[in-house]
């Protein structure tokens, strides 16, 4: 099976041509006949009750087919698994921007126009909870479990050197290129949802449960997805509302969110206040780590970003307290957002480590090396594999770390202050149950394979790595392997969330290849000294077709190990000393993430994460006006993602890693780790450049003058 080894080579995306030629059909690209268009309208208050909806004029507007509000919407199951509520089940308003109705019309423009003719009245609720800065003091312990060992406070009191600081990160949004979009179409009891979904089967079950119908009556079709970053993992009300609209209009309905609506429809990364405490000996041995996160959640549901996750695994420290406080607010429910908790949490932890190194007059890399844990410091489990030390050392060499001036503010070139920073990160590696079917055909000796599973490709390369895995597993060239994914009629698969996608899908395909090969060997009734490939067996046995299904599971002892991807990030920033504007001149991410299935798509994942991390560090911030609870940042003109000029040279290095414990293929997942540690490295580089420690993201020019 090692014979051709296409896995691990930088194969171009096999779906690339379809995409650049516009032939890949995304959710609302399907040529469904007789399509009507839905437009969601939303509350303009943060809390209270709808007292009146006047849609008389809107109903008569050109093209309007139907208007749906809580007054005529069917009863839905609000606990069906869709996130964030807003299912038109009653007059209560829980956040500004909550969906309060849908207009269905012949065209999108007609639906939007009619929606604006609708007049809604509310009885206000003076108690709307919209001011996080004020409410943070009322936060209570969150459900997210606490980690406690030893006694942080006594260690802090007696240690030679301590850091005790607060770091703050703002609300951020996922903003995938493709907004959430659905075409819902009923045929009798059967519902087809062309919908952008990171978890195909999850979308199917949550839609079915919410609509009170059987899952087998719901089909999700999502072969191509324009990004998701967590916002299309758990699905949101718009999915079920598209189906409701189609039912009530008695026509297929197209329902897509506008960019403005993306701000308050599909979750967000919450505003975090992180209190970090570090205590160390004079030699830089960590004695204590405290990491308390205070954040907000929905008024009636709880999600907290696990900001303390990196603090649980990165360093050896005898005393630790990692905990969470949360306050319910009239703001849309937060949700998983790329590198949930780890990206924002590592900013706090790694800034604090940099502050500690500076106080100790110690090299920041040396400080990290001095606190390398032999096993998982929180669970005590052995590592499945861990190459953080190699990441740091190889990175330092490649980056030229030794040339860094440890004294801040001393590296000046013309108008610029130059600085270098380092920060580490980690992300858990997990495999989830996932099935796959392989169908082999043999047409006069030409063997071809079709691999089927309900996986989702967010644009990251899932098609490609599965084709590579199957090609190797079956002994076929990639061109003779067809990948079918993105359809809930296919065998159930894990989702493309939490960096489990590649691991789970690839292991299931690999296992299916082994299984089909073994079955073919048995069918042949022959003895083999060298294990043949499935392709060879199909030919030698002159079989015209053969198929098998594999329901793959994680390794039985996977839970005995602590499995994570690790990285070390190196940033060089140039800060204009007149204007405070920052440029990331170069950024190096060194990642140890097990086996890399395709270095090209893997690099894209890492540098994509880096770019978002640069946005987190320098530009991205959503602002809510507490008087109304609405977003003041409401388009890409106000919500700044980094532009090319902000992002200099990005380099990604992978450390070779053969992980025997994480899963059979030794794949650890790279979807999220690329954003972890990035903001920390940049903030640390800015400190090195300017001598200014900014503990509040994003680091905009006003914070540096």
């Amino acid at each position: 099976m090692e014979a051709n080894q296409i896995t691990g080579t930088p194969l171009n995306r096999i779906d690339g041509l379809l995409k650049v030629t516009g032939k890949a059909a995304y959710a609302t690209d399907y040529p469904v006949k007789n399509l009507a268009y839905g437009y969601l309208f939303k509350s303009t208050v943060a809390s209270g009750t709808i007292t009146q909806i006047d849609d008389a004029v809107a109903k008569k507007a050109p093209g309007v087919i139907t208007i749906i509000t809580h007054l005529n919407a069917p009863k839905l199951n609000v606990k069906g698994g869709l996130r964030g509520g807003a299912l038109l089940q009653g007059p209560e308003i829980k956040f500004n921007g909550q969906h309060i109705g849908i207009v269905v019309a012949e065209t999108f423009e007609q639906a939007r126009y009619a929606a604006r003719l609708i007049k809604v009245q509310y009885s206000g609720d003076a108690q709307a909870k919209t001011d996080f800065e004020k409410l943070a003091t009322q936060a209570v312990p969150a459900k997210e479990p606490e980690v406690r060992r030893g006694d942080v406070d006594s260690a802090m009191a007696s240690a030679a050197v301590t850091v005790d600081e607060v770091y703050e990160t703002p609300i951020e949004h996922h903003h995938p290129m493709e907004p959430h979009a659905t075409i819902a179409s009923w045929e009798g009891d059967k519902l087809t949802l062309y919908n952008s979904s990171q978890i195909v089967n999850g979308a199917q079950t949550s839609a079915a449960k919410t609509l009170n119908i059987a899952p087998e009556n719901v089909r999700i079709i999502t072969p191509y997805i324009g990004g998701g970053f967590g916002s299309k993992g758990g699905q949101w009300a718009n999915l079920a509302l598209a189906a409701v609209a189609a039912k009530m209009a008695n026509r297929p309905v197209h329902l897509a969110l506008s960019r403005q609506q993306m701000f308050n429809s599909v979750g967000l990364r919450q505003h975090n206040i992180q209190h970090l405490k570090l205590a160390a000996t004079k030699e830089g041995k960590l004695l204590a780590l405290g990491h308390q996160t205070t954040t907000h959640t929905a008024i009636d549901d709880e999600y907290t970003e696990p900001c303390g996750d990196c603090s649980k695994v990165l360093y050896a420290v005898p005393n630790a307290l990692i905990n969470y406080k949360v306050v319910p607010m009239n703001i849309i429910m937060p949700t998983y957002t790329r590198g949930p908790g780890k990206s924002t949490g590592s900013f706090a932890l790694e800034s604090a480590m940099d502050e500690l190194a500076f106080k100790l007059q110690m090299d920041p890399i040396a400080l990290r090396l001095a606190n390398e844990p032999a096993q998982d410091p929180t669970t005590g489990k052995p590592w499945s594999s861990r190459k953080l030390v190699e990441c740091l050392k190889e990175g330092a060499k490649a980056f030229g770390w030794h040339k860094r001036n440890p004294q801040p503010g001393k590296n000046i070139q013309g108008d610029y202050l130059i600085g270098h920073g380092v920060a580490c990160g980690s992300y858990p590696a997990r495999q989830r149950d996932s099935s796959a079917v392989i169908k082999l055909t043999n047409d006069n000796g030409k063997v071809q394979a079709t691999v089927e599973l309900a996986a989702a490709d967010l644009g990251t390369g899932t098609y490609t790595i599965l084709a590579q895995t199957a090609a190797d597993g079956l002994g076929l060239p990639v061109a003779q392997v067809q990948i079918k994914i993105g359809d809930s009629d296919l065998p159930p698969a894990a989702g493309s969330v939490g960096s489990v996608g590649a691991t789970s899908y690839a292991n299931s395909v690999n296992d299916a290849c082994s299984k089909i090969t073994t079955e073919l060997m048995m069918k042949s009734g022959k003895q083999f000294f060298v294990r043949p490939t499935a392709a060879q067996l199909m030919a030698s046995e002159r079989l015209s077709s053969f198929e098998t299904r594999m329901d793959a599971k994680p390794l039985a002892d996977a839970d005995n190990y602590s499995a994570h991807s690790f990285n070390a990030n190196f940033a060089e920033v140039w800060v204009n000393r007149h204007t405070g504007m920052v440029k990331v001149k170069r950024f190096l991410a060194v990642t140890a993430a097990g086996k890399i299935l395709n270095p090209k798509t893997a690099r894209s994942q890492i540098i994509g994460g880096n770019v978002w991390g640069i946005g987190m560090a320098l530009t991205e911030e959503s602002v809510i006006d507490p008087r109304w609870g609405n977003f003041i940042t409401r388009s890409f003109a106000d919500y700044h993602v980094p532009v090319n000029l902000d992002v200099g040279n990005l380099e990604a290095i992978f450390i070779n890693e053969d992980d025997k414990h994480a899963n059979k293929l030794g794949v650890k997942g790279i979807g999220e780790v690329g954003i972890v540690g990035v903001a920390g490295a940049i903030a640390n580089a800015i400190f090195n450049a300017t001598g200014k420690r900014v503990r509040e993201l994003p680091i905009t020019p006003d914070k540096l003058i």
């Binding site: 050109p62 204007t579 602002v623 609405n630 003041i632």
Partner: protein, 334 residues
């Protein structure tokens, strides 16, 4: 967006006639601002008069004979073509720089010179029809005054409105003493200085400028410039491109040896109109062109600033930007 009537104008006078005939009509130029505002339901015109096909897009020298003279920018010239035009690059480099510091390449390819002056504020409360905003809905209140006003004015604002004019191009034009050419239904041509053209919000923030409905901008006139050798446009923003200015400064110096014989400083991102820094200009005239003098003038200019809760930083940033623009103007080309 609301239904509207679309007409494609065949001549300038016919466009003006059409415009004057309906108080709810608007000119459609590049559409990069107007169409966005219509989709957001902020602008609700009943009729659009498309002038983009009219042949008024030249950049012309006004010189007669050898004497140095001005340049005329036709209203329908594209921002990108104007910025890259040889006459502009050689004689008005700060204008070229200012245009190129605005928006993105795609938007500049669509945006016209006339439309650029008339683009509306980027105040987020103005853009959200659920919010109070005196500029959009007179009498509804100013959402920004007690709200998130990081991007807002520090000069010349009123309790009714604290918005800033978002254009970069207009800042350089203000520094260059450009004039706006407007024509009305009666065929009258007016030539407005920037002071006459733009307004402070006062009690009527719904008016961005002093044009009357039915006035069409036909062009922008640039007087002969003595600043080509020493000029610079500095723009400070939240990212390196494609962001509106936190503060920007157009600066031009005319030198007699080391002495400043004439100087222009205009600021963006600080007021309801491009802000001529007259205090700084006055202080610098006749002085030596030194960094110390630039800094002192910058400080004096910003001393009159009145910031809001979230834009206090604009005072220090304004001082720095003025000094930076003047220093870079001094060293321009060297």
């Amino acid at each position: 967006m609301r239904p509207f009537k679309y007409t494609r104008a065949t001549t300038l006078p016919s466009a003006i006639k059409e415009l004057s005939g309906n108080a709810q009509s608007r000119i459609l130029a590049g559409g990069t601002n107007l169409l966005d505002l219509m989709k957001e339901d902020v602008e609700r015109p009943e009729a659009l008069i498309d002038i983009t096909h009219l042949p008024h897009s030249a950049v012309k020298s006004l010189s007669q004979g050898a004497a140095k003279s001005g340049v005329l920018l036709d209203a329908l010239g594209k921002n990108s073509e104007t910025a890259n035009h040889l006459l502009i690059r050689s004689q008005y480099p700060m204008l070229s720089q200012a245009i190129l510091a605005g928006a993105s390449a795609q938007i500049r390819n669509m945006a016209t010179n006339g439309g650029n002056l008339l683009q509306r504020t980027r105040c987020p409360y103005f853009y959200d029809v659920a919010m109070p905003c005196n500029k959009r809905t007179p009498g509804s209140g100013c959402g920004a005054l007690e709200g998130f006003n990081r991007m807002h004015a520090v000069f010349g604002w009123s309790d009714k409105c604290i918005a800033v004019h978002p254009s970069d191009m207009a800042v350089a034009l203000a520094a260059l003493d450009a004039k706006v050419l407007a024509q009305n239904e009666a065929g009258q041509q007016r030539r407005l200085t920037f002071d006459e053209f733009f307004r402070l919000p006062g009690d009527a923030p719904e008016k961005d400028n002093n044009l009357q409905h039915g006035d069409l901008i036909t062009g922008i006139e640039l007087p002969a410039s003595n600043f080509a050798d020493h000029s610079y446009y500095a723009k400070v923003r939240d990212r390196s491109s494609y962001a509106f200015a936190l503060v920007s400064v157009a600066a031009g110096l005319q030198l007699n040896g080391k002495q400043i014989s004439d100087v222009r400083v205009a600021m963006g991102g600080v007021a309801h109109k491009p802000w001529r820094a007259l205090t700084a200009e006055k202080m610098l005239k006749g002085k030596e062109a030194t960094e110390a003098n630039f800094k002192a003038a910058a400080k004096a200019e910003m001393a009159a600033a009145k910031p809001h809760e979230y834009n206090k930083f604009k005072i220090e940033l304004g001082e720095r930007a003025i000094a930076l623009a003047l220093t870079n103007a001094l060293n321009y080309g060297s």
